[in-house]
């Protein structure tokens, strides 16, 4: 089992990454490593998603935090925001 250039192109598109071709060799090595699990019989074994059995906790629907928009927006340059909104490249011509 190994990756083709096309496989990697598709994965890179899904992950919104641009990668150079040299990564294919590394990914093949990792695939080879993880593929060892295919030899193991796992019939009737339940999948373990988590180390602890935790239940989703519920809480009262009350406001616990003040409005932090200004603080949050201090993370980006002035040129990337307007009227409290975030600016991105134009999507519609």
């Amino acid at each position: 089992m190994s990756f083709t250039q096309n496989d990697v192109k598709k994965l890179a598109y899904l992950a919104r990454l641009a990668v150079d071709h040299s990564i294919v060799e590394d990914l093949d090595r990792i695939l080879q490593l993880v593929n060892k699990i295919s030899e193991i019989n796992t019939d009737h074994i339940p999948p373990m998603a988590h180390a602890q059995e935790t239940k989703q906790r519920l809480r009262e629907d009350v406001v616990t935090e003040p409005d932090v928009r200004t603080i949050m927006q201090s993370e980006i340059p002035e040129s990337a925001k307007a009227a409290g909104l975030y600016l991105v490249p134009k999507v519609v011509e």
Binding site: A18, L27, P47, A51, Q52, I71, E75, V88
Partner: protein, 484 residues
């Protein structure tokens, strides 16, 4: 000042032998003098540290001090710190100043600890040598040509060089224990859910766990006491009151059952390391412990399973970095698609991209069952190995790493070689168990780590074992010659 334990230092502070401002100044000066050799810090917070030290002195004067009041510590740069940069070792977050403190940061602040700065790490905690940091590799204080280990390499190197009395770190597949072993310090990865993950940058959420690093098990116990406990802001935080870790340190080891898993002593292990582990076990036998050989038959599957589950969760967690609300923004994007792709491609390093792509692959249609679900099933088998072993023994002991600190650059051509540094550590993360690494010997002037593994929530027991070992040995008090 930098060779004393936290409790000794706390005593000196409370008896006014020294002030926290003097202590903090001493450590800040050590960082300025020594860190250029190590690169263990990304950010120094000198001004804030001195302000807080002076406040700590007031608390001490008012007679309200706890064991951590006025004690200088470092935080791994994965923890959000209000107003101080949190880079996570990545260009993606090089400009990120968190608007809030992680729960763990807040807890240590409340306990009176003084943050001196933020430590270097592999980008997004992905790596075992600290060479994946955007800020350059951390050097091992025992040999500056060698790696510090990773991903918490900055914390480990800084503690080994006595640049602070303790540091925080995180462990997803060995990132506390492996660098602790390679730098000769003590570090504990608690049971999953014991320490809050709120405000800790996420890598693989079902595996990530924070813990302390220091120069002894006793210091780790003091730190863990302040860090552990339920947090409503973390949905996986366990609603359990932690025991008193410090008082259990002096429990007797008479009759303690130690399991030695023969899979941890296979041909992959450097035979000299095996000898050091053997000697450590003999010391514990002298203290009354009883040794039993055990088997963890699925150990060999932990690396393959880890490199499916961790990348899967990483690809999902790191999807949030789009450069819109925070983080790296490329210049002059052509369109929205180009904006996303360039923000992520220019912001992330090579190893992070590899893991995102593998994670995307194992979660994609047609491969999900064969890889991700299958890996989760084997994860259960790995956890069962431990559950069965702990029916017969109290703790499990083995090496932390298969080899000593290696030369910087020596494992950069094949990612798999690096992954294998964690063959004895990842299984604990998959099972969610606590594990500790403590220095147990030296080979060619490089430290050897001994791993002590406990059952769920048995942190007090493994700290107890390490403390008793450290009472009769002095490996943990060794200081690398250049940093005395």
């Amino acid at each position: 000042m930098h060779t004393k334990s936290i409790l000794e230092t706390a005593k000196d502070l409370q008896s006014k032998k020294i002030s926290s401002v003097e202590l903090t100044t001493h450590f800040l000066e050590r960082i300025k003098k020594f860190d250029p050799k190590l690169n263990s810090l990304i950010t120094m917070a000198a001004e804030q540290a001195l302000t807080n030290a002076s406040l700590a002195d007031q608390t001490i004067a008012a007679g309200q001090a706890g064991p951590l009041t006025g004690i200088p510590i470092l935080h791994k740069d994965i923890f959000c710190t209000n107003g101080i940069k949190t880079s996570c070792g990545s260009k993606m977050l090089d400009n990120f100043i968190a608007p809030y403190d992680a729960t763990l940061v807040k807890k240590l602040k409340t306990a009176g600890a003084i943050m001196l700065g933020k430590t270097n790490m592999d980008e997004f905690a992905m790596g075992s040598s600290n060479e994946n940091s955007y800020y350059g590799p951390v050097r091992n204080p025992w040999n500056l040509e060698c790696v510090s280990g990773g991903s918490s390499g900055g914390s480990a190197a800084a503690i080994a060089a006595r640049l602070a009395l303790a540091a925080t770190a995180t462990d997803t597949g060995g990132s506390i224990r492996q660098p602790a072993a390679l730098c000769g310090v003590t570090g504990i990865k608690p049971t999953y859910g014991l320490v809050s993950r709120f405000g800790m940058v996420a890598f693989a959420s079902s595996l990530d766990q924070a813990g302390p690093m220091a120069n002894s098990a006793e210091d780790c116990a003091v730190m863990l006491q302040a860090m552990a406990g339920f947090d409503p802001n973390d949905s996986t935080s366990v609603e359990k009151t932690p025991p008193n870790y410090v008082t259990h340190l002096n429990d007797s080891l008479a009759g303690l059952k130690i399991g030695l898993p023969h899979e941890f002593f296979s041909e992959q292990l450097n035979p000299e390391i095996a000898k050091v582990v053997d000697n450590a076990v003999k010391e514990l036998e002298k203290l009354g412990a009883v040794v039993k050989e055990i088997s963890l038959p699925n150990t060999h599957l932990s690396i393959p399973v880890y490199y499916i589950i961790a990348p899967a969760e990483c690809s999902s967690n790191l999807a949030r970095y789009d450069g819109i609300r925070f983080g790296y923004r490329c210049s002059n994007p052509k369109d929205l698609e180009d904006f996303y792709v360039r923000n992520r491609s220019e912001g992330f390093g090579k190893e992070v991209k590899r893991r995102i792509l593998i994670g995307t692959y194992v979660l994609s249609a047609g491969y999900y069952d064969a890889f991700y679900v299958k890996a989760q099933k084997i994860r259960q088998l790995i956890a069962n190995d431990f559950i069965n072993a702990f029916k017969e023994v109290d703790v499990i002991i083995g090496p932390t790493t298969p080899e000593l600190a290696f030369k910087i650059g020596s494992k950069n051509t094949n990612p798999i070689e690096m992954y294998l540094s964690d063959i004895y550590t990842t299984s604990l993360n998959l099972a969610g168990l606590p594990g500790l690494s403590m220095p147990g010997g030296m080979i060619n002037n490089l430290p050897v780590g001994i791993q002590v593994i406990g059952n769920y929530f048995q942190e007090a027991k493994i700290l107890n074992v390490a403390h008793q070992f450290q009472k009769v040995t002095n490996w943990h008090t060794q200081i690398p010659a250049e940093f005395v």
